[in-house]
């Protein structure tokens, strides 16, 4: 269980500012969906937390700043699933999940018995026993995605960063992947920060949504508050209808320009 707090975060690529004065507190064990048009800064924000881009301001996890921690300590707190993970064709599923143990292995060390037991446990719990001995190059998109999530889980990091994790999957596999993350979040008390394209899915799985526009938060709150036709029209420049189902699900339907 870990909380994340952003304090006046700013990220620049050269002179271009992609995130500025971003402040937000993410409660431990919650799922925050980051939405916003392309280029709004969702990916940069996640990359800053993962330590992949330099940033100013502070990212505080459990009361102390991430930038004060060592590289491997940071990696064992935060698991990062990129938009397009690289899965080497010739690597087996099990070898791939084992990479998740990297933050726990010393510089000159090698996986120990307990690392192997941990990986076997993750593979078993995610039902990947059939996939684990096979090469990544022959697996389907859905199987690969589950291995990526398994690798993140093998890090035992309390914070999970997902950068549009299902953009390459069909609707069934998208749902499966999100259900899996949701199950793991409940079982392990993970804090999930995910950038999402599909607003309906974002609304379904997130406890809270943050709408980013030009590097800063323009709307932040419950799904009902953020997913309104007016807000979306303003920042995405789209015309949508927002339906509310009886079970509380919010459905965002794009509308054609001329009807």
């Amino acid at each position: 269980m870990s909380s994340v707090e952003f304090r006046h975060l700013a990220v620049k690529y050269g002179r271009r500012v992609v995130i500025h004065d971003f402040s937000m507190a993410v409660a431990s064990g919650s799922w925050v969906g980051l939405i916003g048009p392309n280029g709004a800064g969702k990916s940069s924000l996640l990359r800053a937390v993962a330590g992949l881009v330099k940033h100013s301001g502070d990212i505080v996890v459990d009361g102390s700043s991430l930038s004060l921690r060592s590289r491997s300590r940071r990696a064992s707190l935060v698991a990062y699933v990129p938009q397009e993970p690289i899965l080497p064709d010739e690597m087996t599923g099990r070898e791939y999940v084992m990479l998740g143990r990297t933050p726990h292995i010393g510089y000159f060390g090698h996986p120990t018995k307990s690392d192997r037991a941990m990986v076997d446990d993750v593979i078993g719990r995610l039902g990947l026993d059939d996939i684990a001995p096979r090469h990544l190059g022959v697996l389907s998109g859905g199987e690969r995605q589950r291995l990526v999530i398994a690798r993140a889980l093998a890090t035992e990091a309390p914070i999970l960063l997902l950068d549009e994790p299902t953009s390459a999957l069909d609707i069934g596999h998208q749902q499966q992947a999100f259900e899996l993350v949701e199950r793991l979040r409940r079982e392990h008390g993970l804090t999930v920060l995910s950038a999402m394209h599909d607003l309906t899915l974002a609304g379904m799985y997130s406890d809270r949504l943050a709408l980013l526009h030009e590097g800063t938060v323009v709307a932040d709150g419950s799904v009902e508050d953020v997913l309104s036709a007016e807000t979306l029209a303003e920042f995405y420049g789209v015309r949508v209808t927002v339906h509310r189902e009886d079970d509380g699900t919010v459905v965002v339907v794009p509308r054609r320009e001329q009807l």
Partner: protein
């Protein structure tokens, strides 16, 4: 792993057993065994019946050559496997960043300026200068590459390598053109040779090779993590730039040392790592140690036809490795496509 070590020892024996002169082949292992304490006359009573002259052929001529071939083959294939890992490119060899081209230029300069006077020097300057030039060229490549893209992308480094290799080769060609009398000597050097191998050569390269091998063995897990890309490796807590620099420096040090004593022996660094992957899978945890033993065995084996085919003349080792390596490489690419 232990199987490949056994193969290495067997090929070394085979290497020591063959040659244009010397005792019958079956006496050689006996002669070696005889000299191990506990096996000779005072122990198990092994007796080979090898004369002192024949022993001198085995020990002073064949053995250093076999040992050097083993070291050179192991180092080149280890360097190749490491470069392939760190640049995430299967078509890379340890000469990529200019170790071979720099060494060739250094040797050329010595052959043209000092010429045969070098034989009067207390130490042969060719390997030393080749070593310095090899390291110098790779350092320049590194500085050029780093000044453009830093160590964030490995492709800028590869491109800088291409530029430095062609520049160095151009300088070498220019020098050769103005000194056509040394063309033959330089050409012989470039094709690679183990014929003049002595225990001195072995001692000369051993410290660099040992250091390079140790460092690379310790970084094989990092090479596996790098397979998922710089970004994800960094997110997993690996100091990517530092690991890449360390691996490149270590592999280059070994490569430069063996280039200095044996010239340019092609294909070992490119092909042997792939042979290993086909045999034992692609995990660097396994590939790195196997590249050492298989690479050593491969070059010892390749050296046997080199010195027996047109005996007593020699086929340059670089020709033999390419002769075996090129067809093998084509077969390898075919089978890989089929298995996809």
């Amino acid at each position: 792993m232990s199987l490949s070590a056994l193969v290495l020892v067997l090929t070394a024996c085979a290497g020591a057993m063959t040659g244009p002169a010397g005792p019958e082949w079956w006496r050689v292992p006996l002669a070696l065994l005889e000299r191990i304490p506990g096996f000779g006359e005072s122990g198990l009573g092994v007796s080979s019946g090898v004369s002192p002259l024949e022993w001198s052929i085995i020990w002073d001529i064949r053995m250093p050559r076999v040992v050097l071939a083993g070291i050179v083959g192991a180092t080149l294939s280890l360097g190749g496997a490491s470069y392939q890992g760190v640049f995430r490119n299967p078509l890379v060899d340890p000469y990529l960043l200019g170790a071979a081209a720099g060494g060739g230029l250094g040797a050329t300069i010595i052959f043209t300026t000092v010429g045969s006077d070098r034989l009067d020097w207390p130490v042969d300057p060719v390997p030393l200068v080749a070593f310095v030039f090899a390291l110098g060229t790779v350092t320049l490549t590194y500085l050029v590459g780093a000044s453009f893209g830093g160590m964030r992308t490995s492709s800028t480094l590869v491109l800088a390598g291409v530029a430095m290799v062609s520049l160095t080769t151009a300088i070498q060609t220019f020098i050769l053109q103005r000194n056509s009398d040394v063309v033959r000597v330089v050409y012989n050097w470039i094709l690679g040779r183990l014929a003049t191998a002595s225990w001195g050569d072995v001692v000369l390269v051993l410290p660099y090779v040992a250091l390079s091998t140790t460092v690379l063995l310790f970084h094989r897990r990092h090479l596996d993590v790098l397979r998922v890309g710089d970004e994800e490796a960094a997110a997993l807590g690996i100091p990517v730039a530092r690991v890449r620099l360390t691996v490149v420096v270590a592999a280059t040090l070994g490569t430069a040392a063996v280039v200095a004593v044996s010239g340019l022996i092609g294909f070992v660094g490119l092909v042997v790592p792939h042979m290993v992957r086909l045999m034992a899978g692609s995990t660097y945890r396994v590939v790195i140690p196997l590249a050492i033993t298989v690479g050593g065995a491969f070059l010892i084996l390749a050296d046997i036809p080199g010195r027996t085919l047109s005996s007593p003349a020699e086929v340059p080792i670089g020709v033999v490795t390419a002769f075996i390596g090129a067809p093998f490489f084509i077969i390898l690419l075919r089978t890989r496509q089929v298995s996809r």
